[in-house]
């Protein structure tokens, strides 16, 4: 009998323990204060790197604002930051719509990434100034703005990115109301005052909860639609339209889907570190990693699917602009970067994540996520750097006659890229000081809705599915 019981225990992970609601509130609110020494060192380091990046961006603008061919890395950075900061909040959306219980503790950390949209906008500002006008030499270049006014790509991309930021914050805030109330009730000092102000009299009445759910659904839907649209604008206006003859209808979707991939990878990394260093094992169960791992695995496969769908059409087409597109993007000066990117986005993570054991754990998951992010950075570089390195005077050609030489990053570019990435990490870290990194009310809801049971002689979890 005894050996049987032990055999069962080793066969299954122990069901997650139940924690009382008030303990959840107190413990999670406590995580916002008392940062460790290591946290402070990292925060300083990332903050300084972010500032260095902004300074480098300003200096680069002063020095090179007359030469658009030098701005590829900044464009790649805009795209990369859009991918992480824009894609991550989707983790807080899609599984919620599917009513998955595992996602409840994770949503906050995902929606914190919305704030990192600030970094994307900072990177975009000089690019908007440098982006060539729609009409040059008396002719309109190929864009999605057939008859629109001259300023359209500049204005609408900027506006849509700002709108994405605002919607992301609205999504964050509408789900954070009850937690600001928790801060009001359990925190001290400025956090309590902030909580009091932002909780807006939240006491948790039935109608407050109903509006809360409605708002989350509404902002989530808006967020998704705006995100797709922003991806469409960025890839078309800041990518394709700069290269004569480059016409890739899938690129916006490719960019969106790989953005989700970056977002999920970012969430896994953030979740891993906060779980480990804020001692949240009680609340972030392995179940969350298991589900995120499956999501990441599926997105890894989607990346290669979207890439191949576009590649094979160019490869078979063999018209001059098909060939030129492939030479610019895949086969040409960026081939090494492309291959490295593919290996890191698809081959290696695929092989890591295919194992059940890996997806059930945390260590290899976080390594896989880092690899994916590096790969995606390389992928963004191979997409945007060659596009920007095409001299603007060739814009009216039928196709790209001469493939430009590869433009390698200068010290400024490296500083800008390091600064952009640091800014995302810094913003997310700082936000964990304002509000608990896990949503208090959703962790409570998670505990309320799932409980470990004995099923006849076995162990199981009973998950309630309210409408």
């Amino acid at each position: 009998m005894a050996s049987e019981a032990i055999a069962h225990e080793s066969e299954h992970h122990a069901p997650p323990p139940q924690v009382a609601a008030e303990i959840i509130a107190r413990e999670l609110v406590a995580t916002t204060t008392g940062a460790s020494g290591r946290f402070k060192v990292w925060a300083w380091f990332l903050g300084i790197a972010s500032i260095a990046g902004i300074v480098a961006l300003v200096l680069k603008f002063i020095d090179q604002s007359d030469d658009s061919t030098k701005w590829g890395y900044v464009a790649a950075m805009v795209s990369f930051l859009l991918s992480i900061a824009g894609g991550a909040p989707m983790v807080a959306m899609a599984p919620v719509m599917a009513k998955a219980n595992w996602v409840r503790p994770v949503t906050r950390i995902a929606s914190l990434f919305s704030f990192a949209g600030v970094a994307t906008i900072i990177m975009l500002i000089p690019l908007v100034a440098i982006l060539p006008p729609l009409v040059t030499e008396g002719a309109r270049r190929r864009t999605i703005w057939y008859m629109a006014p001259d300023y359209s790509p500049h204005v609408w991309t900027t506006l849509s990115l700002v709108l994405l930021l605002v919607t992301g914050i609205a999504l964050f805030y509408s789900a954070a109301l009850p937690d600001f109330a928790s801060m009001r009730d359990h925190a001290t000092g400025w956090r309590q005052r902030l909580g009091k102000r932002l909780a807006r009299g939240w006491v948790g009445t039935d109608s407050q909860w109903r509006t809360l759910r409605m708002r989350i659904g509404m902002f989530g839907t808006f967020y998704f639609l705006i995100l797709v649209f922003v991806n469409f604008l960025v890839t078309s206006d800041f990518g394709q339209s700069l290269v004569p003859g480059w016409r890739d209808a899938i690129l916006p979707m490719y960019h969106t889907v790989s953005g989700f991939q970056a977002g999920v990878a970012g969430v896994v990394i953030a979740l891993y570190f906060s779980r480990k260093y804020m001692k949240l094992e009680k609340y972030v169960h392995l179940d969350a990693f298991w589900s995120l791992g499956r999501l990441l695995f599926a997105l890894t496969l989607l990346w290669i699917y979207f890439f191949y769908s576009s590649f094979i059409v160019f490869w078979y087409g063999r018209s001059e602009n098909d060939i030129a597109t492939l030479n610019l993007q895949v086969r040409g000066p960026m081939m090494g970067v492309f291959i490295a990117g593919m290996v890191l986005i698809w081959v290696v993570p695929w092989w890591i994540l295919i194992w059940n054991k890996v997806r059930r754990g945390t260590g290899a998951m976080v390594v896989g996520s880092f690899i994916i992010l590096v790969g995606l950075l390389l992928d963004r570089i191979r997409t945007f750097v060659p596009a920007w390195s095409v001299p603007p005077d060739q814009i009216h050609e039928r196709w790209l006659k001469v493939i430009p030489e590869a433009y390698w990053p200068t010290l400024f570019d490296v500083l800008i890229m390091a600064g952009g990435i640091s800014m995302v990490a810094f913003i997310v870290m700082m936000m964990t000081r304002v509000l608990p990194v896990l949503s208090v009310w959703q962790v409570q809801e998670f505990n309320l809705l799932s409980k470990p049971i004995r099923y006849i002689r076995g162990h199981a979890t009973l998950v309630a599915k309210p409408d």
Partner: protein
């Protein structure tokens, strides 16, 4: 001495689980008794022996075979009949990849299906003692003996747990 088995039938899962517990206590070895149900129950619901399997090896094995075959098929036929079509190279890797992918997946699926059948220990045209009411929601506890002397023990365990019927074969 012939192999013999008995089947105790229950209408509810609780007494069936009691019977399984009783058999364990009476010293029957794991693997000599089993539970038959008309629908899957959560694993370990009857405290039963949790079957080990190697299903995941099958698709890997199949995929390797399919992949190898597909490389051979696509490469060899192109080399053996080298006609340039559409300006493509004779060995067109990117076109081959598609066929290779399909063949790999096909072999993987077929191997998985073989694996599922094999790991279910099917086909088994002499499945042994059975009762058609199992597919109507009854639960059967089946015990197989090498040794006739233990039949009475097993019967008493089943009766004690409240078996509604006991069949012999």
């Amino acid at each position: 001495m012939s192999t013999q088995s008995i089947l105790g039938l229950f209408q509810q899962p609780e007494p069936a689980a009691d019977a399984m517990d009783g058999l364990k206590e009476a010293g029957f070895e794991l693997g000599t008794f089993d539970v038959l149900t008309g629908t899957p129950y959560p694993e370990g619901a009857f405290g039963e022996y949790v079957p080990q399997h190697r299903l995941f090896r099958f698709p890997a094995f199949g995929a390797i075979i399919g992949f190898t075959l597909s490389v051979f098929l696509t490469a060899a036929t192109q080399l053996a009949y080298p006609i340039v079509t559409g300006g493509k190279p004779i060995l067109s890797i990117f076109a081959m990849l598609i066929i290779m992918y399909e063949m790999t997946m096909l072999a993987g699926v077929i191997a998985t299906v073989v694996g599922i059948i094999f790991e279910s220990r099917l086909p088994n045209m002499k499945p042994g003692i059975y009762d058609t009411r199992i597919t109507e929601g009854w639960i059967g506890v089946v015990i197989t003996f090498d040794d006739d002397s233990k039949v009475a023990d097993a019967e008493s365990v089943l009766n004690k747990a409240g078996a509604l019927e006991i069949k012999h074969a």
